[in-house]
């Protein structure tokens, strides 16, 4: 038996290809939307992977340092290092801000790390694609290539200028902002230090306060001013544990003895993916559902129209003895063919369009496979209306009168 659907498609291939192309663009948008969600999840996982930490020690009762603000003393890491099972403990700060270079600025996550530590310390960029790691205590930076900065560029963060000495790749925040690493002291200053006017105001108020400016106590006022102008806070301590240590046990030890909140990798992943990007994922999920409904409606409409154009032929086919299932198969095969054409166009479009998006779009093969079968199911369901209409056609319509 010949394929009626195939012959019809070959006969009016232009109509099918152009319709499939239009549908394909819609499917391409759907695939990109799925890719945006995957990219957000991947950004979150990459952030955790690249931090090189097994545990995150943060301010008590906070979800820091990524989902909430967290502030802890920068000398806490020493006592954590002394606990059994801990091999590395590093201070780190995170601050999302606009980093300027000349006339342009780039939304970035500025990460403060301790320079001079051994290669691969927690918080450091795990690898570079150009240049070197930060070795000096001030005014050097390592930037992700997504910032567009190059080696030797001079960046402005707050009131200081930094020279880009290294470039790294895929170092992004959970919201996809590329990272710029600077020395910890500079980062603390950038995050916690007040501006000159604020410092002046603060000193003036301290000076007029008799409790801080007592006669006969020389040096008290200077000491208080100095403490107000300096920062000794960080956002978190990243902890790496020995291979033999159990993360939950070490975390419990820190919680008990240091009275801090500690997250393991699994808990931090849950915070990032389950809480931080949960709303965004729901938003994207809603878009995916809407796009699926719109695609189904379009396929249904197209197949219905194509079938309406063939009502007379269908009546003739039924009159001359064609089985209902042959006619139904013809319509469904055309809907599926339209889906296949649309998916091919959509996949190609998404593949070429994904790198053009400002945020990371991760097109995963399993999403494409699921998407392909979803398109086929949608097309099959969408053809049901046209099939019902075709099966209701009276063969007597082929006979005049």
């Amino acid at each position: 038996m010949i394929s009626l659907a195939g012959r019809d498609i070959l006969h009016s291939w232009g109509k099918f290809v152009f319709t499939g192309f239009g549908l394909g663009l819609l499917i391409g948008v759907t695939l990109v939307m799925a890719g945006v969600y995957r990219g957000m999840v991947d950004d979150g996982k990459v952030l955790l992977d690249n931090s090189g930490a097994d545990l995150w020690v943060v301010q008590k009762d906070t979800l820091g340092p990524y989902a909430e603000s967290s502030s802890i003393n920068d000398d806490l890491y020493r006592s954590i290092l002394a606990l059994p099972g801990v091999t590395h403990a590093s201070n780190v700060t995170y601050l999302t801000m606009q980093v300027r270079m000349d006339e342009r600025d780039v939304r970035s996550m500025v990460v403060g790390i301790v320079p001079g530590e051994s290669w691969g310390a927690p918080g450091w960029p795990p690898y570079l694609v150009a240049g070197r790691q930060i070795t000096r205590g001030h005014y050097e930076a390592v930037a992700d290539v997504a910032t567009g900065f190059k080696l030797g560029d001079i960046l402005t963060i707050r009131r200081n200028r930094y020279t880009v000495v290294g470039l790294t790749r895929r170092m992004v925040s959970s919201s996809g902002d590329p990272m710029v690493f600077i020395p910890l002291k500079d980062a603390q200053e950038a995050q916690f230090l007040k501006d000159n006017d604020a410092i002046w105001q603060s000193r003036r108020r301290t000076e007029v306060n008799p409790a801080f400016n007592r006669p006969g106590v020389p040096g008290l006022l200077d000491a208080i001013n100095a403490s107000q102008a300096s920062s000794n806070s960080v956002n978190a301590v990243l902890v790496r544990i020995a291979p033999s240590a159990v993360p939950d046990e070490v975390a419990e030890s820190i919680r008990r003895w240091k009275r801090m909140t500690v997250y393991t990798r699994a808990q931090m992943e849950e915070i990032l993916i389950g809480k931080l990007i949960a709303t965004s994922s729901k938003q994207i999920g809603m878009f995916l559902v809407i796009l699926a409904i719109v695609s189904a409606a379009i396929v249904a409409f197209i197949i219905y129209t194509l079938t309406m154009d063939k009502i007379r032929e269908i009546a003739v086919l039924k009159l001359i003895g064609t089985r209902n299932r042959t006619i139904a198969a013809m319509i469904m095969q055309q809907a599926l063919a339209l889906g296949v054409i649309g998916f091919a166009v959509g996949k190609i479009t998404a593949t070429y369009a994904a790198p053009l998006f400002p945020k990371y779009v991760l097109l995963m093969p399993q999403d494409s496979i699921v998407g392909f079968f979803a398109v086929l199911v949608i097309c099959a369901l969408a053809s049901v209306i046209a099939i019902r209409m075709a099966l209701k056609v009276d063969p007597a319509e082929a006979i005049g009168g």
């Binding site: 007379r312 082929a398 006979i399 005049g400 009168g401």
Partner: protein, 236 residues
């Protein structure tokens, strides 16, 4: 009558019920022998189309008897379970407009019926080509319907009606869209094919030019048929 042909006795068809009931066919008696071409003529609303639909097993008569070949297909109820197969295997249709499938070429338009009946594609196409040769349209075998003239399309439609060698062919105004010359050519072909394939052909027509070509003509008026001898001109 031999084993083929069609016989109809006291066929009736009523639409609706009660006060609104309409008797479209009140009493139809017909008999067409194998190899015979008869005309069925009548004014609009006389019941031609209803009769054609009953004969084509598209709608069920209300009462009466229809015998196709040796088989009683209707006797106050269908005696055949699969009407679709009956239409496919035992009844050929030729319409006023050819109604060829636009996305199939000429060969496959004709070969489709045997293919639907389960005949292998190659065999069905060979049989179709033989018929197209007999109807002198074999040179357009690979063309699609839109590339054919009206006369060629009608000949292909006749080939489609004949391809399963049905005992009866119902032709619904097959010459309506054609000029006189082509109309006569179509009637000549129908006569030749009826003889060659021993098929009974009923031609529904309004065409005054071709009515004299029939040896027998059934007139239908108000749902009742009357047989008359025709002139049988031109195809003796």
């Amino acid at each position: 009558m031999s084993g083929k042909g069609i016989r109809i006795n006291g066929l009736r068809k009523r639409y609706g019920e009660g006060d609104t009931a309409v008797d479209a066919l009140k009493s139809v008696d017909m008999q067409v022998a194998p190899g015979e071409v008869v005309g069925l003529v009548g004014p609009s609303g006389s019941g031609k189309s209803t009769l054609l639909k009953c004969l084509g097993a598209v709608i069920a008569p209300t009462a009466g008897e229809m015998v196709l070949g040796d088989e009683v297909i209707y006797d106050d109820g269908w005696r055949v379970r699969d009407l679709r197969a009956l239409r496919r295997d035992k009844i050929g249709f030729v319409f006023q407009a050819p109604y060829l499938i636009p996305f199939l070429d000429v060969t496959d338009n004709v070969a489709l019926l045997p293919m639907l009946a389960g005949v292998p594609n190659g065999e069905a196409r060979k049989h179709a080509l033989d018929l197209l040769t007999a109807l002198d349209v074999q040179h357009r075998a690979r063309a699609v319907p839109s590339q054919l003239s009206g006369g060629e399309q009608q000949r292909v439609a006749i080939a489609r009606g004949l391809v399963n060698r049905p005992p009866v062919i119902l032709a619904d105004e097959p010459t309506a869209p054609l000029d006189s010359e082509r109309a006569m050519a179509v009637i000549r072909i129908l006569n030749e094919m009826a003889q060659e394939y021993e098929t009974a052909i009923i031609v529904v027509t309004h065409d005054e030019k071709i009515i004299p070509t029939f040896k027998r003509v059934y007139h239908i008026r108000d749902g009742v048929t009357h047989e008359e001898a025709g002139e049988g001109k031109g195809f003796e």
